[in-house]
Symmetry: C2
C-alpha cells in the first residue's frame, strides 16, 4: 500500500506546510514493545523480542537485538553515513542521496505531486515521464523542500521545566509552545539550520532536530505512470508486484548542482533471501501506544469518519475527471492520493474491527493496570488511562463538527489571514506553524507558483461547504452566514471566480498590507476566511487542549510501561528519521508461499493474465526495449522491516550500507501496522536496485545518470 | 438522470419484491399544488396553476387544466387505452405494450437487471446486446414480473372504518394492516388478479389496484451498452444526449406469445416543438407534501446518510470490479444502479441545501398554519405539523443504527426465516409483504434461478457487517455476537462459503420444513438470520409506528391544505400508474438555448469532441451501419412532463395516443423534482420513436420486430 507509505497529509488540499509538524504534536505517541504482546488475528503469532519490530531512533538503535539476532554491530560511521544520506521530502515521503552531485532517489508517487505541478495540458509528465539529458534540462520544482537531518539533541528538560502539575491544559499548552518556539528560534539563529522540536514517546521526550534545507530541487528523471504504477489500483496493496515506482531529483545550491558528502552507493549483488537489510526513512505516524479506549474511538468514530470523507473525495474527483481528458489530468494526483489513503485507512479499520486485536490489547492493558495499581510507586499513573478515555469521549463529540474546507485557494486565503493575525503576537505565543523558526519553509509553500486549477478548486470547495452543511445542519448559524441566499455550489463559484489569490503577487501584497489590509480586503476568499476563522480557531483550541491532555497522560502511561515491561523501546513514528531492519523473506498466504522476488520476465506473464484490464499495459518504451532486458533481473522484492506511510522512497541498504532497493509499498497484511507490527505476513515492498539500474540504462537510455551514480559493479548497469 | 427515473429499490440487494409496496405505505405522501408556491432557486420562477406540474391519477385527470392550457379533452376511451397499454416492471421501471402479440418496450437500463441475470462469462448480453430472430430464440427472464393495471377502486371507507382516534399507533397499524390484507385477499380470490391497496394522499385515500400479472417475460432485443449508455456517467444527467436507452421484451402466456388488446402504435411524425405530449408511467416516490421539518430531516440526516452509503457501495463495487474482467461484469449492474442513485440523491440534497427552497417552503407553511389556526374549523389540524416534526426527530435518532445487510444470499435467508415465522399467524396479522395476496409474486423472487455471485455477495456482506460495526460501535452486544472471534470479512466468508442457499431446491426445502426446520437448520446464513432478526424486527416496528404516526398527520395536513388552497391535486408518487403531460421544449442554460432535439448526425460530433474519453465510442454495429442512417433523424428529445424515478421506460404519446418517444432520463435541472417541480429548466429526456425505429431496422436488421409493431407510416421504419 503506497497509501501506507506515502504520507497523506496533502489530502486536505490545504497548503499547510507545517501539517507534518502539527500532526506530530497532535497525534503521535510513544511506542513500546508493549504491542508485541498483541496477537495477530489470523495466526495468533506472538511477536517475540527478537522480531524485526521497530522504527528506531538513529541515536538509540537496538544494538543488542541486532547483535543477538543477526550478529551485526553497526559502527558510528555506518550510522552517521546512512543518516546523512537520507532525505525527507516535505511533500510527505523519504529519499536518499545517490551521487556526490546531489542526485536524490525517491518514489514516483512521492514525486507525483511535483510531476503534476510541472505538467501542463500539453506535457503530462506525471503520465508520460521525463528525462533531463543535461543539467540545463532539469526542471525546478515550484515548492519542494528537502531536509537532511544533521543533528539531534535531547531538549526534554528545557521543554518540561516550564510545565507544572498545577497548570491547566491551556496554560501548559501555552507554556510548552512558547518554550519550543524559543528553542527552535535560538537554534535557527545560531546554526542557520531548519530546527524543529519533535515530541517523542508521547511527551516523555523532546528532541531538537536540525536539518539542512534544500529548496532548489529539480526533476531529473521519472518513468511513465504505466510502469511506475503497473497493475494500478487493482494490484495496489498486493504482492507480487511489478512497479518501477522510482524517480530521481537533484538538489541545487547557488545555481549549481549541490555537492553532498554523504550519499549511498549501489550494491553489485542483490540482497539474498534471508539477508539482513535496513530501511532508513521517515515513517509518518503510528499509534502503537494507544490505549484500548483510544483505539476504540479510532475504530468507532475517527476512522469511519475519515474513510467516509475519503470516499466522498474519491467520488468527487472521479466525477470531475469525467468532464474531459484535461480534467482527469488535473485531478489525477489528488485522486491517487485519496485512493491510496482510503485503502490504507480501510486496512487500519479492518484491523481495529478484528475482535482479537482489541481483546489482546485490552487484556494486556488490564494486566498492566493491575500491576501498576498494586505498586504504590506507580499507582498514581493509573488515572492517565482514564484521562485518555475521557479525551477520546470528548473527541467523539467534536468529530466532524468543525470547519473542514478542501480548497487550495481557500487554504491560501486562510493561511494569509491567520499569519497576519498571528504576526501581531510574539513568536512564542503564536500558533506553532507561524512561529519565526519555520517561516521560510512556510513562505515557500504560500508563494508557490505551482498551478492551481480553479475549476477543480471550485468543485472541492463547493463539496466541502456542502459537507459542512450536512454535518452541522442547514440551520446552523455559521452555515447560514456562509450561504446567505446561495447553495453551496453557488457560494463556492462566487468565491473562486471572485478571488485573485491565484496570483502570487496578490498574496505577497496582501501579506504586506498587514492586519488593516486584510480586514479591508474585498477579496471574497479573504472575507470568507475572516468569516470562518473564529470557528476554526475555536475547534483548534479544543483539539489542542485535548492533545495536551493526552500528551500528559501518555507521558505517564509510558512511565508505567517502562516500569512494568522494561525500557527497550522505540517511539511511535513522527515523520522523523528512523531505522528499521529485517530480512528479505517470502511468506505464506492462503496456504501458498509468496516468493520474496519478482523479475522482469514476470511482467509479461502478469500482463497476459490481466489482458483487457486497465493499468496492465506496459508503456511503449518498455515494449520497445523489453527484448534487451534480462528476464531474470530482480524487479521488486519484500522484506520484514517495520515501515509505514512516510517511508515511501526510503533506501534499503545491506550491512555494507549499500543500496539494494527502494521502498515503495507494504503488502495488504501490513496494513494494521499503525497499531501493531507482525513479521509473519506483513512485508515492505521495494524496487530492487538491479532492476532499477537496468531499466534506467536499457529502457530509458539514461546511462549518464547511471554513470553519475557510483555503481559498485559495472555489470549491474549494463 | 436515469437514477431519478430508475427506481433504486434494488440497491439494497435484498430480494424483497414487495419493497415497492412497502415503500408506498412507508414513505409516500400526498402532493398538492401547495408545492407550486415554492420558488426555484435559480430563477425564482413561480409555478403557475397552468404549469405542466403533476403526476395525475388516471381516474382523476386535470381535465380543466388540459382544456384551458391546451384545448385538449381526452375521451374515456383514450384514457383507458393508454392506461391498459402501460406496463409496470417489478424491477423498478415502466413500459408499454407495442404489439398485439405482447411486445413490451422499455429502457435498456430497466432491462439491465434481467440482461445481467441472463448473461454469463462467455455471453455478456448487458454489454453486447441481444436479438432474437424467432420466438424460440427469446430468452426467459428468471424473475421478472410485469403488471398491467386493469382497475382501481376507492376503498378508503373500508380501510378507515376500523381506525379510531383513541387507538395507539401500534393498534392503528395492526388494524389497518389487517383490513388491507383482507381487502387484497378478497379481491385476489374474487378476480384472480394481483391486488394491492395503495395509500394515496398520505393516508387520506386508499385505492385498490388490480393488475394482470405476467411472469413469463422474454427478452427480444437489447442494444449494446455502448450505445444505450453513450457518454457514460459523464453525460448522465446532462442533455443533449445520444442514447439508445431501449430494449424490447415479450410477455408470454401458456407457452405462447400473449395476445394483448391494448398496445400503442407509432406516430408517423415526430412530435413538434411545443407539441403537447403525455407520459404514462409509474413514478416511484416524491415528497412534495413534506413539511419543512421533514425536509430538514431529509436534508441534514437521511439524505447525507443515504449518499454516504451509496458512495461506500460504489467504491466497494469499483474495487471488486478491478479484480478481473469477469468480476467487473458481475458487479456491473449493481454498480450502475448505485452510481445512478448516488447522482440522483446528490441532486436532491443539493436542492434541499439551497436556502431559498427551504425558505420558500417555510414561508408558505407559516402562512398556511396561520390561516388554519385562525379558523376554528381547522385549528385542530395544526398539531399534525408538530407530530411530523416529532417523528422526524425520532427518525434522526434511529438513522443508521439498525441492521442493514447488503447480500442477496443473506436476503434470501432472512426472507425464508421471516416468512416461515410470519406464516404462523393469520394473513392479516403478518408483516404485509407476507400476507397471502402477494405470495405468488414473492415466491417468484425467492425461487428465482438468477445467478448469485458468491464472491461479490461475500464482499457485500462483509462490508455491510463492517458498516454495522462502525455505526453501532464495536462494543455493541449484537455486533460482538455476530463477530465472535472473527473480523467482519472473515465472518462474511464463513457465512457465504458455508451456506447452500444458492441452490433453489434448498430454499424450497427449508420453507417446506417450517418453523422447526428453520430453527434446527445448520445453514450458517439461516442461523445468522435468526440471530439478527429480532433486532431487524425491533427497528421495523419502530419505523412502522413512525410511519403510522406520519400517515395520520399527513391526512390532517392534506385536509388543511385542501381547506386553504383548494382541492385541485395529485397525490405524491407511489410507483403506481400516473399520467404526466407537457410540451416538447428547449430551455435556457448559462445564457444558451439548449435545443429540444438531438439527431443521428450529432453523435459523430459528440464522439469527436470526447475522443480519448471512455464511453464515447460507438459500438461496431453502429460504425458499420452509420452511413446508411439518415443524419437528420431525431435521436433524443426533451419535454416538460413531470416525471421521476420509476418513470424510466414510460411511453411518450401525442394527442392521438400514438408513440412519439420513450422516457429514459431527466436533465440535471430536474433533480429536485422529488420535492419541487418547475418547467423552467427541468426536462424529461426521451428516445425519439423515429430514431428508435430506424436503428432497429438499419443497425440491428430487426425488421421482423418493426413489422410486428403496427408502425403508422412505413417510411419511418425504412
Amino acid at each position: 500500500m503506497r497509501c501506507v507509505l506515502f504520507l497523506d497529509t496533502k489530502v486536505s488540499a490545504s497548503v499547510r506546510v507545517n501539517a507534518l509538524e502539527q500532526n506530530q504534536s497532535m497525534f503521535l505517541w510513544l511506542t513500546v514493545i508493549y504491542s508485541a504482546t498483541l496477537f495477530l488475528s489470523q495466526g495468533l503469532t506472538m511477536n517475540t523480542a527478537t522480531s524485526d519490530e521497530g522504527m528506531w531512533l538513529f541515536n538509540d538503535l537496538p544494538r543488542e537485538r541486532l547483535l543477538d539476532a543477526y550478529g551485526f554491530d553497526p559502527s558510528q560511521e555506518w550510522i552517521d553515513h546512512l543518516s546523512r544520506s537520507s532525505v525527507r521530502f516535505n511533500s510527505g515521503g523519504s529519499a536518499s542521496f545517490i551521487s556526490p552531485t546531489g542526485l536524490v532517489l525517491t518514489n514516483h508517487h512521492v514525486g507525483a505531486d511535483t510531476l503534476a505541478k510541472l505538467s501542463t495540458e500539453e506535457h503530462n509528465l506525471l503520465e508520460n515521464g521525463f528525462l533531463a539529458r543535461t543539467h540545463a534540462d532539469e526542471l525546478k520544482a515550484p515548492d519542494l523542500e528537502l531536509n537532511q537531518l544533521l543533528s539531534l539533541e535531547d531538549v526534554t528538560d528545557l521543554v518540561q521545566k516550564k510545565i507544572h502539575a498545577s497548570m491547566t491544559p491551556t496554560e501548559a499548552l501555552a507554556a510548552r509552545r512558547e518554550t519550543i518556539a524559543q528553542i527552535e528560534k535560538q537554534s535557527l539563529d545560531a546554526t542557520g539550520l531548519r530546527s524543529n522540536v519533535i515530541t517523542l514517546y508521547g511527551g516523555a521526550r523532546y528532541h531538537l532536530y536540525r536539518f539542512r534545507k534544500y529548496t532548489d530541487v529539480r526533476l531529473v528523471w521519472a518513468p511513465e505512470s504505466a510502469i511506475a504504477f503497473f497493475g494500478g489500483d487493482a494490484d495496489n496493496f498486493e504482492y507480487p508486484r511489478f512497479c518501477l515506482d522510482a524517480c530521481i531529483f537533484r538538489v541545487w545550491e547557488s545555481g549549481k548542482p549541490a555537492q553532498v558528502n554523504d550519499f549511498l552507493t549501489w550494491s553489485s549483488d542483490d540482497a539474498a533471501d534471508g539477508e539482513l537489510v535496513f530501511v532508513s526513512g521517515n515513517p509518518g505516524r503510528t499509534n502503537r501506544i494507544y490505549t484500548a479506549a483510544a483505539l476504540k474511538q479510532m475504530r468507532d468514530v475517527q476512522m469511519p469518519y475519515t474513510i467516509n470523507n475519503l470516499r466522498r473525495q474519491e467520488i468527487l474527483l472521479q466525477q470531475f475527471s469525467l468532464r474531459s481528458v484535461e480534467s482527469a489530468r488535473r485531478a489525477r494526483d489528488d485522486l491517487f492520493g485519496v485512493q491510496n489513503s482510503r485503502k490504507a485507512r480501510f486496512g487500519m479499520l479492518a484491523g481495529l474491527q478484528d475482535p482479537q486485536l482489541l481483546k489482546a490489547k485490552q487484556e494486556s492493558e488490564t494486566d498492566l493496570l493491575e500491576k501498576l495499581a498494586a505498586d504504590e510507586k506507580y499507582a498514581s499513573l493509573v488515572p492517565a488511562w482514564h484521562s485518555v478515555a475521557e479525551s477520546a469521549a470528548r473527541r467523539t463529540l467534536l468529530q466532524g463538527k468543525g470547519v473542514g474546507l478542501s480548497s487550495r485557494l481557500f487554504g491560501i486565503a486562510h493561511w494569509i489571514v491567520q499569519m497576519v493575525q498571528e504576526d501581531q503576537k510574539p513568536s512564542g505565543s503564536r500558533l506553532p506553524e507561524f512561529a519565526d523558526a519555520g517561516r521560510e519553509s512556510m513562505l515557500l509553500q504560500l508563494y508557490s507558483e505551482a498551478p492551481i486549477h480553479a475549476d477543480l478548486d471550485e468543485v472541492l470547495l463547493g463539496d466541502s461547504i456542502a459537507k459542512m452543511v450536512e454535518l452541522r445542519g442547514g440551520d446552523d448559524p455559521l452555515c447560514q452566514n456562509i450561504l446567505g441566499e446561495m447553495s453551496p455550489g453557488e457560494r463556492a463559484s462566487t468565491l473562486i471566480t471572485g478571488t485573485t489569490l491565484g496570483d502570487v503577487a496578490v498574496r505577497r501584497k496582501l501579506v504586506a498590507s498587514g492586519l488593516d489590509g486584510i480586514n479591508a480586503s474585498k477579496d471574497p476568499l479573504i472575507e470568507f476566511a475572516l468569516l470562518v476563522d473564529p470557528e476554526i480557531r475555536r475547534f483548534r483550541t479544543l483539539f489542542d487542549e485535548l492533545d495536551e491532555q493526552d500528551k500528559q497522560a501518555y507521558a505517564h502511561i509510558a512511565k508505567g510501561i517502562f516500569a512494568i515491561r522494561g525500557t527497550s523501546t522505540y517511539p511511535d513514528a513522527t515523520f522523523s528519521l528512523r531505522l528499521a531492519y529485517g530480512t528479505v523473506a517470502s511468506y505464506e498466504q492462503d496456504g501458498k508461499t509468496i516468493p520474496a522476488w519478482t523479475t522482469f520476465e514476470g511482467i509479461l506473464e502478469h500482463e497476459r493474465i490481466h489482458a483487457d484490464q486497465p493499468h496492465y499495459t506496459l508503456p511503449e518504451s518498455w515494449k520497445k526495449a523489453f527484448s534487451n532486458l534480462h528476464g531474470s533481473t530482480p524487479f521488486n522484492f519484500v522484506c520484514t522491516a517495520d515501515i509505514i506511510g512516510g517511508n515511501s522512497g526510503s533506501p534499503v541498504v545491506n550491512r555494507k550500507g549499500q543500496l539494494v532497493g527502494l521502498i515503495f509499498d507494504g503488502n495488504i497484511q501490513s496494513l494494521t501496522s499503525n497499531v501493531l507490527y507482525s513479521s509473519r505476513q506483513a512485508r515492505a515492498v521495494a524496487v530492487a536496485s538491479r532492476g532499477l539500474l537496468e531499466a534506467l540504462s536499457v529502457v530509458y537510455k539514461a546511462d549518464h545518470i547511471v554513470q553519475e551514480m557510483q555503481v559498485a559493479a559495472p555489470e549491474a548497469a549494463r
